[in-house]
Symmetry: C2
Subunit: 109 residues, 2 copies
DNA sequence: CGGTATCCTGTCCGATACTG
DNA sequence: CAGTATCGGACAGGATACCG
């Protein structure tokens, strides 16, 4: 039994899935892999996610230390940028493998 | 927009997560990565999953073509073995990366 | 611009009991 | 031994409206 940030996992594989699982987290990480992006840029990159869900997933990823959130303006209109942290960058090879296998599976079908 | 086995995905990363996501699929694949296992052996390897859930997840993985189910006995008591298919084996590097990152994250915390 | 608040729905998944 | 049947709770995630 493993523990990470207060949650328990029966196996190292399930720990990873607990952190990057869910419907949108890998997609967010995939888009942040090569670029720092603003909230609105993420929305454009992922047109089918709702604002609420995107917001919640970003907060989750931030709490797990994978991404950073930087506010550049003192007042509205706000400018906010999201980027991978150093810890989040350790996921890059994994995200690349996830994306590559998705492409491969499509090419098989 | 990508399609795989009748489901739609907005991104190659989300396709992969749709196939190996969920609470238990990567754990099953992790245990089948190096060994063919019987149902009861999977249960021993994953003591905290319920029979119902294990059964459903195995069926999902079989329908997605990742694992094979072989019955060796004509009547009860049954002997059933699960193994990765050739297509499922293409996931091995990914599963290894998932497991390795889980270990790494624990070592950081 | 970058979010929350509120409400609601589906689905995942656990518990328990039973079967070929 | 290897499952299925039934029930039900919790939570992820969508729709829409509103706020600093």
């Amino acid at each position: 039994m493993l523990e990470f940030r207060g949650k328990q996992y029966p196996c190292c594989a399930s720990l990873t899935m607990g952190v990057i699982g869910g419907k949108w987290k890998t997609v967010i990480l995939f888009h942040l892999m090569n670029n720092t992006l603003r909230y609105s840029e993420l929305r454009k990159a992922m047109p089918t996610v709702t604002e609420r869900t995107l917001s919640l997933q970003l907060k989750d990823l931030e709490e797990d230390g994978l991404i950073s959130r930087t506010v550049y303006t003192p007042k509205p209109p706000l400018k906010v940028e999201y980027a991978l942290t150093e810890f989040g960058k350790t996921l890059i090879p994994l995200i690349q493998a996830v994306a590559a296998w998705g492409d491969y599976a499509v090419s098989c079908a």
